[in-house]
């Protein structure tokens, strides 16, 4: 996919001229900016967890092949199945083969699934696919793109959200609805779908190599249903999410929630294999109340190449909390219109460089102010502004 700076700017200017877009972003920023500091003030141990995760990520990234092997063995022990996809096409093929066609599929929010175009791909195979995270569902309904990593519908006002839900889901809402009315209508709509779904697709906040566990953090409760109700659960995630131990993986999810400003998280899910029971004659049977199959699809899609590149390597530590977006003056005015087709803001520029190539990231880098607010807040101490300046060099080498 080619990205051209001038085209990105055209889109940004469309956003600047849209008062509803600007107003929605501005409202969210005033609620979210600096929120991680309040979390850390109330729960000072978050700092210890942050340092633990930072070390765990460094260790895992330096020995990625070792930890992938360990993860494969751990998952096998747990009766889960590991798949490895080199790129977008391979990931789509794996998902296509696992799901087939004519199925009902529910997605919890996964930015990696967005990166790989998985929802659209499964739809193209004749499956009915529903997003279940409220924000992500709104994005699906408007045929749009996530505008923030943890808050994908940040650009929509309540009026716009209500219009989408009314028109696209055909549900009734009061004439001036409150957020509660929309949430309640969507809950009613999705209940039946969860119950009938054949496959649940989730992402993963972190993956533990030593136990083969997938850790997921959430507030809505949709991840519990997506990963717990359908008979097949497929988790899709990047190789950089692997950390050595389950202890690290749980800390990872907690730090992500703290820096997202949503702490304590309402739910923390640990999934180490298909559901099972040994209640009858102590013989283990897989497929109890939850899924009978668990598949973990690990994605490379540029990540290994980035590991070898000093200009991108550090960014693989990113835990995608979205904190840099909440603090970035450019993002405050553009949301994810700046950063790439999937990811946005300072971290987005670098994820775009990792997943779509440095040339693509370079086009976006030129809009970075270099103000370093992102560097100040990044829990993984990624020198974002310096890495982005490295991409500017790529851009400017072609004048």
């Amino acid at each position: 996919m080619s990205i051209v700076l001038e085209k990105v700017l055209e889109d940004i200017y469309r956003g600047l001229e849209d008062p509803e877009f600007s107003e929605a972003i501005s409202r969210s920023v005033s609620n979210a900016e600096g929120k991680h500091l309040r979390v850390k003030e109330m729960y000072p141990y978050v700092e210890e967890l942050r340092l633990q995760v930072l070390e765990a990520k460094k260790k895992a990234l330096e020995n990625i092949d070792y930890y992938i092997d360990q993860l494969a063995r751990s998952l096998e022990r747990n009766h889960g199945v590991l798949h490895i996809a080199g790129d977008r096409d391979e990931a789509q093929k794996i998902l296509g083969d696992l799901v087939g066609s004519g199925k009902l599929v529910v997605f919890s929010k996964s930015i990696v699934a967005e990166e790989l175009g998985l929802r659209e791909h499964l739809e193209s195979l004749g499956n009915r696919v529903w997003e279940t995270d409220l924000g992500q569902l709104l994005i699906q309904l408007e045929h749009g793109r996530p505008m923030h990593t943890t808050a994908p519908a940040v650009h929509l006002t309540i009026e716009q959200a209500a219009r989408l839900v009314r028109e696209k889901l055909g549900v009734e809402l009061p004439s001036s609805p409150e957020p509660e009315d929309i949430v309640s209508a969507v809950r009613r709509f999705l209940r039946e779908i969860y119950y009938r779904a054949d496959v649940g697709v989730s992402g993963a906040n972190a993956v533990a190599a030593d136990t083969g566990s997938i850790v997921l953090v959430e507030n809505e409760g949709n991840i519990r249903l997506v990963t717990g109700y359908p008979p097949i659960h497929i988790a899709v995630t990047g190789i950089e999410k692997i950390v050595p131990t389950l202890n690290d993986a749980i800390s990872y999810a907690l730090v992500q929630a703290a820096y997202a400003g949503l702490f304590p998280p309402t739910y923390l899910n640990v999934i180490s294999g298909p559901s099972n029971t040994a209640d009858i004659e102590h013989k283990r049977v897989y497929g109890a109340h939850g899924p009978r199959e668990l598949h973990l699809v690990l994605i490379d899609n540029g990540r290994r190449r980035a590991l070898l590149d000093p200009g991108l390597r550090d960014h693989l530590r990113c835990i995608r909390c979205g904190r840099c977006q909440w603090e970035c003056p450019v993002w405050h005015h553009t949301a994810n219109r700046w950063g790439g087709p999937t990811y946005g803001g300072p971290m987005g520029v670098l994820w775009t460089a990792i997943t779509l190539g440095k040339e693509a990231g370079a086009e976006l880098s030129m809009l970075c102010l270099g103000c370093a607010r992102c560097d100040e807040v990044c829990p993984m101490e990624i020198p974002l502004s310096m890495l982005i300046r490295g991409l500017k060099r790529v851009y400017s080498s072609k004048i």
Partner: protein, 325 residues
């Protein structure tokens, strides 16, 4: 839409030809010092890096770009100028700063010199050495041109053998202190912002007695986050009798004025400046104090665009006004 690579080509070409990002000569950088009786030689020298002097020109350029950006001809005109090598002609159209803006830049530098003198700092100004630092090249990733330029600047600076180089703006301070040593082998002088030097000698500065009113401080990103110069301007303002009002997003987490993208995305830059201008306006203080010529220019432009009347002054001007007899 502007063609960004053409803008970068114009910038790089200007610097290669004249050493400055806009057309002009050395006089543009040094004329402010005429009649101040500054010595050419000394252990401590002033190096302005030219941002204050160049800013009126850069500002005009940015305004011109914003107008171009609005029309379809913008990209084509820039591309044609780049291709035909008529950069000087294009620049002549662009650069016509007002007398008022030029005078303000001069006053800032004169005030800085007077403040340093009153603080007991013997400062020399080898005018022939003063030059543009090349910071814009660095910021835009034009590293090849930057490195050549930085070597020339460093050579000139080293030729005068000064122990300490005093700078006047955050970008020049950062580029000289942290960036030059990475690119120019052996370049390791002591580099200090005039604000740090004044704070070190604060007890020697005699200010007028009495309340000087409230000022809202706007920390520049490069001082606050790159150079950790946060307390010093506050100490100086308080000593001069001002009450310092902190806006939302101040100190270490200060907010950008939008300046760094003004030549690439003028409308985005302006919106960021307007956001900042509004929050400074809402801080409940009086005059807004800036410590960087880019912030000064961008915020001033933002207030004009918003139709808000707000007094903005450079730190040096506010401190100078309060100097005692």
């Amino acid at each position: 839409m502007l063609d960004v690579r053409s803008i970068l080509r114009i910038l790089a070409d200007n610097i290669k030809r004249t050493g400055l990002p806009v057309p002009g000569d050395q006089g543009l950088l040094t004329s402010w010092s005429t009649g101040l009786g500054l010595s050419e030689k000394g252990d401590t020298i002033l190096y302005t890096g030219g941002l204050y002097q160049l800013l009126p020109y850069i500002e005009e350029f940015a305004e011109y770009l914003e107008k171009l950006e609005g029309g379809k001809a913008g990209g084509l005109l820039l591309k044609a100028a780049g291709r035909l090598g008529r950069l000087a002609n294009l620049s002549k159209i662009v650069v016509r700063p007002s007398r008022e803006k030029l005078e303000y830049s001069r006053q800032v530098l004169v005030s800085i010199v007077e403040l340093l003198r009153r603080a007991g700092v013997e400062i020399a100004y080898p005018g022939g050495v003063d030059s543009y630092s090349g910071v814009l090249l660095y910021d835009m990733g034009l590293d090849t041109v930057f490195v050549e330029h930085a070597r020339r600047v460093a050579q000139k600076l080293e030729s005068v053998g000064a122990e300490t180089i005093v700078t006047v703006d955050p970008h020049t301070t950062h580029v000289l202190r942290k960036v030059f040593p990475q690119y120019v082998e052996g370049f390791a002088p002591i580099v200090k912002s005039y604000i740090e030097v004044l704070a070190e000698n604060i007890d020697k500065l005699q200010f007028k007695q009495g309340d000087a009113g409230r000022v809202v401080i706007h920390d520049p990103c490069f001082y606050a986050r790159y150079e950790n110069i946060i307390d010093e301007p506050r100490q100086l303002l308080r000593r001069a009798g001002y009450t310092v009002v902190e806006p939302r997003r101040s100190g270490r987490m200060t907010y950008c004025c939008g300046g760094p993208v003004e030549s690439i995305a003028p409308r985005l830059s302006r919106r960021i400046a307007e956001t900042r201008a509004r929050e400074l306006d809402e801080a409940g203080g009086g005059t807004i104090v800036t410590l960087c010529p880019i912030c000064y220019s961008n915020l001033r432009r933002a207030y004009r665009g918003l139709g808000i009347e707000r007094d903005i002054q450079d730190l040096s001007i506010l401190l100078y006004r309060r100097l005692g007899p």
